[in-house]
Symmetry: none
Subunit: 225 residues, 4 copies
Amino acid sequence: MSSKPKTSDRPALSSDTGASRKPQQGRSLASLERMQQAAEKLMLERGNEDFTLQDVSHAGNVSIGSIYLRFDGKDNLVRSVIATVLNRLDRDETAMIDEVVKAAPALADFVPRFVASFADVLRRHAPILRLTMQRAEHDPAVSGPGKASAHRSAARGAAAMMRYRAEIGGRKKELKAMSAYHIIFATLARELSLGSTGESASGNDWKALKRELATMCLAYLRHPD
Amino acid sequence: MSSKPKTSDRPALSSDTGASRKPQQGRSLASLERMQQAAEKLMLERGNEDFTLQDVSHAGNVSIGSIYLRFDGKDNLVRSVIATVLNRLDRDETAMIDEVVKAAPALADFVPRFVASFADVLRRHAPILRLTMQRAEHDPAVSGPGKASAHRSAARGAAAMMRYRAEIGGRKKELKAMSAYHIIFATLARELSLGSTGESASGNDWKALKRELATMCLAYLRHPD
Amino acid sequence: MSSKPKTSDRPALSSDTGASRKPQQGRSLASLERMQQAAEKLMLERGNEDFTLQDVSHAGNVSIGSIYLRFDGKDNLVRSVIATVLNRLDRDETAMIDEVVKAAPALADFVPRFVASFADVLRRHAPILRLTMQRAEHDPAVSGPGKASAHRSAARGAAAMMRYRAEIGGRKKELKAMSAYHIIFATLARELSLGSTGESASGNDWKALKRELATMCLAYLRHPD
Amino acid sequence: MSSKPKTSDRPALSSDTGASRKPQQGRSLASLERMQQAAEKLMLERGNEDFTLQDVSHAGNVSIGSIYLRFDGKDNLVRSVIATVLNRLDRDETAMIDEVVKAAPALADFVPRFVASFADVLRRHAPILRLTMQRAEHDPAVSGPGKASAHRSAARGAAAMMRYRAEIGGRKKELKAMSAYHIIFATLARELSLGSTGESASGNDWKALKRELATMCLAYLRHPD
DNA sequence: TATGAATGAGTATTCATTCAT
DNA sequence: GATGAATGAATACTCATTCAT
């Protein structure tokens, strides 16, 4: 007779670790981690929601009650896992950029390395990122922080390119850096099927595409417009 | 105590119209269309699966039995709708490319127009495309045809660029055309949130990005070697 | 962390039979009756709510789905049973009063017979009436119709006494009739523990009390002013 | 697939204070009182059982463990509250009768005052009495003491009337006194909805009914046989 | 062909009770 | 004595699918 709510309306996904009720110590902390890990494993095996709290209880060796003790419902458990993942991604990305910048004296060194390393980082997190993006589609408590995370990523990427601003041609250097970042991210994300039907050129095509992508961006950035 | 099947394992999504059991005539055909339209409407309103066959029955004024008479289950009804949509997209894309090619004497005319028109076509179909991509994530009966459709699109796009092969610099003209297509599609798809959390630069940024995208591709294609 | 709703908020207890979705015929009707009877039996055995829909399903040989097909939820099933009971009581009471009036030429005949027969009717329905009153305590969808039914009963009882208005002393004959009815009902209801801890004088005391009650009311009604 | 226990089978509700495990002193006593008061408050706000021990723990600032230290389970906590209430009622009723008797030289003074004052006492305790009677319905550990309390009340009421035995007509003075008490209590209880769907004549009707009730009883008591 | 009533497996959530600290 | 974190049984409700008519 009516529609389905599907996701609980509680906001969640608090700033750092996620929606867990309380930071714990000792046994409690261990049990909290077991349930999050069990949930992440099940989410990857079966999809975002296609697992039972019963399943988490068994896989993580925690009682159902315990889950509710920490996570105001299944939805928030899922969000917590996603929040954790976004944090990991943030951290890894930052580290990756630092490293690439350090090793790249010139823009011509930076761009291809950035493309390759960014692709690596994304690939490492791809499965859970897919789930995150999927979930963000209908869950504002995920899409909000998701967008925020994406913004930070964009800012970081563009800032890294601006380190080479002397080599960037034309007036609107910032616009160019931002555009390059967006195009790179979109292309990489697409190849990793981060939320899309991918023709996902397999193997060689994919490698070649990354090369061309770097070439294209480099040419674009340098071009005196 | 166990996992959930969620999607029936029957393959489907036959090449043209979809998974419907039989070509029909007269009344039957009308009822088939009513159920497909009702399903599409409900899919858009509520999401891929968050509607009931009861809902379809009411909205489309068809009996549940009728649905099973044509569609071997809910999943196949959904797949049929998606197949229809992919067909529409194929058709629109082809028409769009023809038109753009016709109006563009040179590559410098073609690229920006292609970006703009392709964005238009995608935007028109964005909501249902989002659903398609979402579903393709776990349903091979959708991801298969989805990939095929994407391939055709890529082939068409690259072929169109190859019309201006004289203007494309360097050796690997095909690789360049294909890469340009992929990068364009990835960027547009991302902006339309086709399956991803989008930082989705709103408004101006998005317009500017499309301009830069065209600029970048044009430069890349023309560049010797 | 919060209160409990406990009873669904849907209004129900429609005028005659109750909250059942549709009057049926043949098999459907039989199954509807089986589930109502099973529910009534379980309500009496275990109390208003202390039974499972699973229980009803087994006892009545109906699927859970069927119950939901007719009764928008467990609450409404209970209400439907109660509605049926209130109807039965209404009918029996009306018949009882007609009979008593017919057999009682004078007020002195009527009052004791009315007390005795009313006690009989109430006793016959006592167990389910107890449940009704209990439930009415927190369920407006029951207390409403319950009050209405009580009003009708009061009106009937007082009207019957007014047939002997010539024998009623004083001015405010209506007030006296109404008061007598209320006092009779209250006393009988109390003895049947219709909703109260009863010291419930057992056996003789109870018989004696009814006699005294009749005596008292008769004296009161006849008394000039 | 099976029945529900719902109320623990342990008998309780010891004669005076209730089911608490031990007489206490100092801090312990204070905590005992806090949990009883919290329980009473919650019972009134939400109904007999619709509160959590968690709630009591918060509202009374006592640990759940403490509750179990005193009360062998939730049921016994509830019973203890009820026992306390019955004691209060007993005390108030006794005081009320003493006062009325003192101020009433003759039966004609006593009866109306008794009706009015008894109504007051009952009204004051009505909410919690409702809960008591409700609970007595399925909990023998409440209905037992409840009946005992009712008996004491009846004995007290009848004894008070017997102080005016000279004015009571006929032989069976005791029977009359007892009957009058019962009828008065039943009528008052009904008006206060002590456990019943009340047509609860509101306002004036209720006042008038009390007057008529007194009139009726007085006439009955005085009437020579 | 067409119908739509019947089925019943599957799951999130609550809360009295226990017991390690 | 006191605590409150952990436990897990228990239950209403949904909806894809079937099949008698």
